[in-house]
Amino acid sequence: MDLLVQNLISPVVLAFLLGMAARWCKSDLEIPDAIYQGLSIYLLFAIGLKGGVALSQTPMTQLIAPLGVTLALGIITPVSAFYILRSLGKLSKIDAAATAAHYGSVSAVTFLAAIEAAKVANIPTDGFLPALVAVLEVPGIIIGLMFAQQQRAGGLKEALHEVVAGKSIFLLIGGMVIGALCGADKIQAVAPLFIDPFKGVLCLFLLELGMVAARRISDIRSAGWRLVMVGCLLPLVHGLLGTFVGTLAGMTEGGAAVLGAMTGSASYIAAPAAVRIALPKASPGIYLTMALGITFPFNLAIGIPLLLAFAKFCGKFFG
């Protein structure tokens, strides 16, 4: 409980709430489109850089297990999401497939918030985590789309290109390659832009995201209690699973919790673009509202602190 409050009272989370408040009191506050895109480019590239440096410092043998379980999670979670959405969520096949693609992938901002929370709580994490984001992002989308193969209008190939060459994966991997090639020493030269002000930029980004989420949250009513419930259940189930297998793979306590948060999160940047192209008949009102309006705030407020506690527990018994 204390951890929860401690996690919520941080500039990053409060900026998110401020963004929601801006919508609620009808402020004319607006982050210009160009600035928002600039912030996204910065964040993804910076995460990549940091991850790349960490990769260059991690022996390959230490990476194999985490990479393996992450790939497995990327394959399992869209499947479990699909069946839960069909059975409990009562979604049509195509909407379930589209939404499963989102829950199979990963939300970069949830990832960052989890890293943050671990740091605030003084729990050490693994430096190579950004590499896992890249590994986790793609397979879930592919598998999700395959569930709706018959109904697809656009080609699967086209949708895949949308994900892999899409700016978020491109910048993440590009940054990672640069970080790995340059190593810690040379990256030092760009640290005053890409490392030090990172959290501040994240604040501004969450300010905008809060405004977007506030718009989505008002859509929840139309979504119905069923989807709200599933939108809380999925991050829970996937989150606990991710944290558990992360611990088994020998990750640090914080690393396992962050992997759990990633697994539990639903993509709302890469996945929607791919799904829109491949499954134009699926309803964005369902998948976007669930990913951004329900699961994202749930993870910020409840999922992450819970997983941090669960990781401690796992660490004791299986670590």
Partner: protein, 101 residues
């Protein structure tokens, strides 16, 4: 100054389809296009993602036949499922012959 009467097609599309629609109009023989970033609301509220940015407005000056081909294609492939609208207007174009491919 001699002007040539041509058809101007204006297409408002969600950003996701921008490049596809440009390719579509080029395929049917448009010699060029002009695109503007716009915002909007219509019957379908939702975009692929806010990160994708807003809508795009694509305008192209074409002959009546090319216009016909473009709107048929748009209608068949995009109108049903995507946030796309389009309209035609008659304009008088300077040096208009360069737009008839």
């Amino acid at each position: 100054m001699k002007v040539v009467p041509l058809t101007k097609i204006t297409i408002i599309t969600e950003n996701l389809l921008r490049d596809r629609i440009v390719a579509l109009i080029r395929k049917h023989g448009a010699t060029g296009y002009t695109a503007t970033k716009v915002e909007g609301e219509g019957s379908r509220g939702v975009r692929a993602s806010d990160w994708e940015g807003r809508n795009d407005r694509i305008e192209t000056l074409v002959s009546a036949e090319v216009a016909e081909a473009i709107i048929e294609d748009l209608n068949d492939n995009y109108f049903e499922d995507f946030a796309v609208i389009a309209w035609l207007s008659e304009v008088n174009v300077l040096r208009g012959t360069k737009f008839i491919s």
